[in-house]
């Protein structure tokens, strides 16, 4: 599923594979049109939520501080969270990596005798490729978020972390429903398609043995799992089946319940331009003795999968403040052209370009940091003020650094190429030695007829630059200007 994981031996950094995927993506005008329209719409919705720049600045500062505090105090908060959840009757499990997380979830399902699972939307579950692991073990998994259900039918990964089926239009969806649910009348009407999905998925809900969900925030103070959504599938997944398993990255913990309001506002306004989602679902306990619904057992799987390592880096640790709103993705001029699948990673767009090379290592995914024009839009909209352009730049530099690999960033220096290193050293020498530079200019202007016509990718769409017959400084000297 993750193209970035393949062929790194012959394609260090995954550049060739990335360029192939981009080439493919650029050749699909309909899909590009779908992205363009969707992104324009979401950007306008977000902008409408923040008419006052001073208010936005204050909200970002608060959200930043809360998330940064979470990361600073992470070990203490995780222990506190575990203690409170346990007191509340929610069982906590720690997972080092995807394999451990999947094994824990599988074991919980087996113990409960569960054969069918209904899932709420969760990017962490994409990260650990949970569906594949469960299906391999013979468990039926149904995604219940409409977008996730659509791409599950299409056997595709999400193309966006908030709107996973954003690359599909109504005709694509209609064709998928016709293929997989021929019993339902064919329609391209969005309301009717939605009605069909309701009908199909309700049956799945009613018969599911377990529900699996992600977590938006985990509150240490009260031992509370917070989930936001618009559809109600998250509520159904976490209420109807007798077993609820939530899976989260360890960075999602926050200290206090009153940290929630500003984070919720920052999240929903940034993500979809909504002042609040239809549902905010705060879960603190399994069903109590006298209650009539809700799961009898609730489990939380806390996944590290590289996060504690990323936190060791003095600059790149900022990545972990992310609340997965997707605003950086929506505002990225590269994403809007190539779409989510071109990245070939679980998390696309700017946050993906920063997170995935750290998670998977530069040798596997370092090329993602090149899918960026450093325009700065992502950093400007990030509700927790992650300096994404600076982090992308840092990753590019780390990838070609000489010197030893260090623990926080696997693959450091592994994309360094001797030829490129020599060229840059030569350039530095030339530009810091006036005599040499003047000599170079003299030759470059006299021998300008010898300028090569082809200069790699530069000349694919442009003509090669040709030095002038005489340099400006030479002309100035001739006119009698002194260097003052």
């Amino acid at each position: 599923m993750n193209d970035t994981r393949q062929d790194t031996g012959r394609d260090p950094g995954g550049y060739r594979a990335l360029h192939e995927r981009i080439h493919d993506a650029l050749g699909k005008p309909q899909v590009r049109d779908n992205f363009r329209r969707a992104m324009d719409g979401i950007r306008a919705h977000r902008a409408a939520q923040f008419p006052d720049p001073a208010y936005l600045a204050d909200l970002r500062a608060r959200a930043h501080a809360i998330r940064q505090h979470s990361l600073d105090a992470l070990p203490e908060l995780l222990e506190h969270l575990e203690q409170k959840l346990t007191e509340n009757g929610i069982r906590v499990h720690w997972a080092e990596d995807a394999a451990q997380a999947n094994a824990i979830i599988l074991e919980l399902l087996r113990t409960a005798g569960a054969h069918s699972v209904i899932k709420g939307k969760s990017m962490v579950s994409e990260e650990i490729e949970l569906n594949a692991a469960l299906e391999k073990a013979g468990i039926e998994v149904v995604e219940s978020d409409l977008g996730e259900y659509i791409i599950q039918l299409a056997h595709e990964p999400p193309s966006h972390i908030v709107a996973p089926a954003i690359h599909k239009n109504r005709r694509d969806v209609a064709e998928l429903f016709e293929r997989f649910h021929p019993e339902l009348p064919y329609t391209e009407d969005i309301d009717r398609l939605t009605g069909n999905a309701r009908q199909v998925l309700r049956e799945k809900f009613a018969n599911a043995d377990a529900g699996i969900s992600g977590v938006n925030f985990a509150v240490a103070e009260t031992g509370t799992l917070c989930l936001v959504e618009n559809e109600g599938n998250g509520r159904l997944s976490t209420t109807l089946p007798p077993l609820h398993i939530a899976v989260t990255g360890i960075e999602k913990v926050i200290e206090r319940l009153d940290d929630l309001p500003p984070l919720l506002e920052a999240l929903t306004k940034s993500a979809t331009g909504q002042p609040i989602t239809t549902y905010v679902n705060l879960i603190s306990r399994p069903r109590q003795d006298d209650e009539l619904d809700g799961p009898e057992a609730v489990h939380l799987v806390m996944l590290d999968n590289g996060r504690s390592r990323i936190r060791e880096h003095e600059e790149l640790a900022d990545t972990l403040r992310c609340i997965r709103c997707g605003a950086c993705i929506n505002h990225c001029p590269v994403y809007v052209q190539v779409g989510g699948h071109a990245y070939g990673s679980v998390y696309p767009g700017p946050i993906g370009s920063v997170l995935e090379p750290q998670r998977l290592g530069l040798e596997q995914a370092g090329s993602l940091a090149s899918a960026c024009s450093l325009c700065g839009a992502c950093g400007e909209v990030c509700p927790v003020e992650i300096p994404l352009p600076a982090l992308i730049n840092r990753l590019r530099a780390e990838a070609v650094q000489s010197g030893p690999e260090d623990a926080p960033l696997p693959g450091r220096g592994r994309l360094r190429r001797p030829g490129e290193a020599i060229a840059w050293r030569l350039w530095r020498w030339l530009y810091t030695s006036p005599r040499a530079y003047r000599g170079f200019l003299w030759f470059a202007t006299r021998l300008r007829a010898l300028t090569p016509a082809r200069l790699g990718p530069w000349t694919r769409y442009r003509s090669a630059p040709r030095p002038a017959a005489r340099s400006l400084s030479e002309l100035a000297r001739r006119e009698g200007f002194r260097n003052e």
Partner: protein, 217 residues
């Protein structure tokens, strides 16, 4: 398992953090302390209506009459209520053409009927949030969690005097941090999705319509 926990925590503790985020408590959310009752109701209604929620203002004693007038006209025949005060008041009256069903046994015993037969459910609301137009529900034995989720129409009774300007105000005034129940819900409109072409469609999984009756003294 326990080893994993230890090694993750150990790595986290081994990392030096420079954190000085003393500024976090200095900043506080803007409040709307000046919003009076009329303003709170207006804001709540405006936000609900913006996401296709219906809002009606009624004198406190009128909600049963409202149901008797409205339900038959909307073709809603099977009404679900909890076993609390609202359910008891409903049980004491007879609404022509409407059959009352009380949620008084575990979901496992009647899941099929809940999904297939109930047209409309009624619940109370613990309080409301004016800023975002949100109903706050603390489901319990008397009003279980699925009441406000599975039936296609959800009617909520909201006392006008329980409207807070913001979520932060409600949390602080009612001291939620000390007494979080099994489940807390904020509900801001009917169920919706924009997963196909970013086009809004209502009633994907939860109620297709949400009706708030604001009860005033």
């Amino acid at each position: 398992m326990n080893e994993t926990r230890q090694s993750i925590l150990q790595r986290l503790r081994g990392t030096h953090v420079t954190g000085d985020h003393s500024g976090r408590s200095a900043r506080s959310a803007p409040s709307h302390a000046d919003w009076d009752s009329e303003r709170l109701i207006a804001r709540f209604s405006e936000r609900q209506q913006a996401v296709r929620g219906e809002v009606y203002r009624l004198p406190r004693g009128q909600w049963l009459n409202w149901l008797a007038l409205e339900l038959p006209g909307r073709g809603l025949r099977q009404l679900l209520a909890g076993s609390g005060d609202i359910g008891r008041q409903l049980a004491a009256v007879d609404i022509r053409g409407v059959q009352l069903r009380t949620y008084d046994e575990p979901i496992e015993a009647w899941k099929q009927q809940l999904f297939e037969e109930v047209d409309v459910a009624i619940t109370g609301a613990r309080c409301g949030i004016a800023e975002t137009g949100s109903l706050v529900l603390w489901p319990d034995r008397q009003e279980p969690r699925l009441t406000s989720l599975v039936p296609p129409v959800h009617i909520a009774l909201l006392s006008a005097d329980t409207l807070y300007p913001t979520l932060a105000d409600a949390m602080a005034a009612e001291n939620w941090a000390e007494r979080m129940p099994t489940n807390v819900l904020l509900i801001s409109g009917p169920s919706k999705t924009a997963d196909i072409e970013q086009t809004l469609a209502y009633g994907i999984h939860g109620p297709k319509s949400l009706i708030t009756l604001i009860l005033e003294d």
